[in-house]
């Protein structure tokens, strides 16, 4: 079972439907966490959402509690949430992407995705990862072709994954395939 923690976003249920193609999915708001779902889930998904990771201490504590014990997958804010919990700074970017389709490239040989593959993806984010960023076992595995900003993270040791872009957006081509790779990683 996959448990989606919703940060009251207007895209979360697209994520839920996408994940439902592969497994049973449960979803609640981040401030209405169901501990039975947390316990039962094999994968915890941190949804997109407004604001910045520091606004969601409940999500941070869930991440820290289950890191290494369950697969964790973050999208957009969820991606930033993981990085934030790993000590990264999440900062405003000069160019802001909301409803924007752009190309991202796989930049790591250790990725579950094929190195140098390019994907067309939908983006909705004001903030980004400040680099350089280093945390044990974490790799930035995709980058924006134009700006170079971090677009995917992988920690294949602890089974932690994240996309800065939105795999569920209609602007993402082959989003289902990207999700499938993460779920089977």
């Amino acid at each position: 079972m996959i448990y989606v923690i919703d940060h009251k976003d207007s895209f979360t249920h697209n994520v839920v439907h996408q994940l439902s193609l592969f497994d049973e999915v449960r979803c609640t708001n981040y401030d209405e966490i169901d501990n039975r779902y947390l316990k039962r889930a094999s994968t915890i998904v941190l949804s997109p959402g407004p604001g910045s990771p520091k606004d969601y201490p409940i999500t941070s504590s869930i991440y820290k509690k289950f890191k290494g014990k369950k697969k964790i997958f973050g999208i957009c804010l969820g991606f930033q949430q993981i990085l934030f919990c790993e000590g990264a700074n999440i900062v405003q970017q000069k160019q802001i992407y909301h409803g924007f389709q752009s190309k991202v490239k796989v930049v790591s040989k250790n990725s579950v995705f094929k190195n140098k593959n390019i994907y067309k993806v939908g983006r909705y984010h004001s903030l980004k990862l400040e680099e350089p960023f280093y945390s044990k076992n974490f790799d930035i595995t995709m980058r924006c072709v134009i700006s170079g900003s971090a677009m995917a993270l992988e920690n294949n040791f602890d089974k932690i994954y994240g996309f800065q872009f939105h795999p569920e957006s209609f602007l993402t081509i082959n989003g289902n395939l990207l999700i499938k790779k993460i779920l089977s990683a």
Binding site: K8, D9, S10, F11, T12, H13, N14, V16, H17, S20, L21, G49, P50, G51, S52, L77, Q92, I96, H98, G99, F100, Q101, G122, Y124, H125, S126, L127, H166, E168, S169, F170, L171
Partner: protein, 387 residues
């Protein structure tokens, strides 16, 4: 009976009535056997008891009316700070006993009357608008919202003939979601273009509009499409609404059933082109009327995105109650089928005051002056009716 005669009769009768656009004409609903004034206390009960699984129903087995903006916020648990209000009801629904189909060509000659209309006044001037605009732009940079619609309101003291206004408006702008409500103490005249929900059986569609272009002689449909395709700002705004509406539908639909049927197409009206998408889904078996209303309303395209955080930002900023504006008008049949629009491009007449609200979107690359002007253009089409 001719449409003209029916309209004259209904106007003389002084009975409350509702007129709503259909695909090829208008429906007139009247002889109301029930009138339900909605509040926070009774809205849930109203929605939970309105429809059953009854298969065979009469044409008049429905409730027609509107949900105001504040009531829709209440339903999804969003609170309001204290606002200026004129105590207009938060929602009203009627049970009609008579339904008459009218032709598309509405004509009605209003009896001559003394004109008592004053100049319209705006509640937020350009300077204040710019201040709010810049504040919201900062919120976008901080990621608290991705798109937000600032509402401005034009008001005047007036005495009008609603049917005359509605007929004239339908001539100049035959909108697919146009409606008129005429009751004893208030009226609403609208040329809304936007269908928020059309539910038949377990099939549901929504048709968001994001992007409006005023017609001129050098523009045709394909040129309008090119304009929108090339305009990155309009495209991004529209994309965001499409993903948001997909998500709203996904709350209540079977996984995998939510599909974009028309992606970023142009619809042509008398004075404007609209950039429109159509999204369809198949409802989950367990979904009830109240779930549909809570998932889809208030309609995302007129609020911004993400819905909850954006509504909170708006409600904390706006000093005056939106009343009907960005609420929804439509009907719920006793078998659960329903159709609702988004209440925009509308005039509310209550206590001898006419109010017209308009909004336009702030995204990261919009400009305060342009948006303020766009608001005025939207309002002007309605203000001109008062001349």
């Amino acid at each position: 009976m001719s449409t003209n005669k029916i309209l004259n009769d209904i106007n003389l009768s002084a009975k409350p009535y509702v007129i709503y656009k259909t695909s090829n004409g208008f429906d007139l609903f009247t002889d109301f056997s029930k009138k339900i004034i909605l509040s926070n206390n009774n809205v849930t009960n109203f929605l939970e008891t309105i429809s059953s699984n009854k298969k065979k129903i009469k044409k008049t087995d429905l409730y027609i009316g509107f949900f105001g903006y504040e009531l829709l916020n209440y339903l999804i648990g969003i609170k309001f700070p204290k606002q200026k209000t004129n105590f207009f009801p938060k929602g009203i629904f009627y049970k009609p006993e008579t339904l008459i189909s009218l032709s598309e060509n509405l004509s009605f000659k209003a009896p001559p009357s003394e004109k008592k209309n004053k100049q319209f006044k705006i509640n937020i001037d350009r300077k204040n608008y710019t201040r709010i605009f810049n504040k919201f732009k900062r919120k976008i940079k901080q990621g608290e919202t991705y798109q937000i619609k600032i509402c401005t309101k034009y008001k005047n003291k007036s005495k009008i003939d609603p049917l005359d206004f509605f007929c004239r408006l339908s001539k100049s702008n035959l909108a697919p979601e146009a409606f008129l409500i005429k009751d004893k103490n208030y009226s609403v005249i609208s040329c809304s273009p936007e269908t928020l929900i059309e539910k038949k059986g377990r099939s549901i569609i929504t048709k968001p509009i994001a992007g409006t272009l005023k017609k001129n002689t050098s523009l045709n449909k394909s040129k309008a499409l090119q304009y929108f395709r090339k305009n990155i700002k309009e495209t991004k705004e529209h994309n965001m609404i499409v993903d948001m509406e997909r998500s709203d539908l996904s709350r209540i639909c079977i996984p995998g059933s939510v599909k974009i049927k028309k992606e970023k197409t142009i619809e042509e009206y008398k004075d404007l082109f609209h950039y429109v998408s159509l999204i369809k889904g198949k409802l989950n078996k367990k979904v009830k009327t109240i779930d549909i209303v809570k998932s889809m309303m208030p309609g995302g395209s007129v609020i911004g995105c993400p819905k909850v955080s954006t509504l909170n930002l708006l409600n904390n900023q706006e000093k005056e109650n939106r009343n009907i504006y960005t609420g929804s008008f439509g009907y719920i049949k006793f078998n659960g089928d329903m159709k609702f629009n988004i209440i925009i491009r509308s005039i509310l007449n209550f206590k001898n005051i006419s109010e017209i609200s308009v909004a336009s979107g702030v995204v990261i690359d919009s400009n305060a002056n342009n948006e303020f002007n766009e608001n005025f253009i939207k309002a002007k089409a309605l203000i001109d009716l008062f001349k």
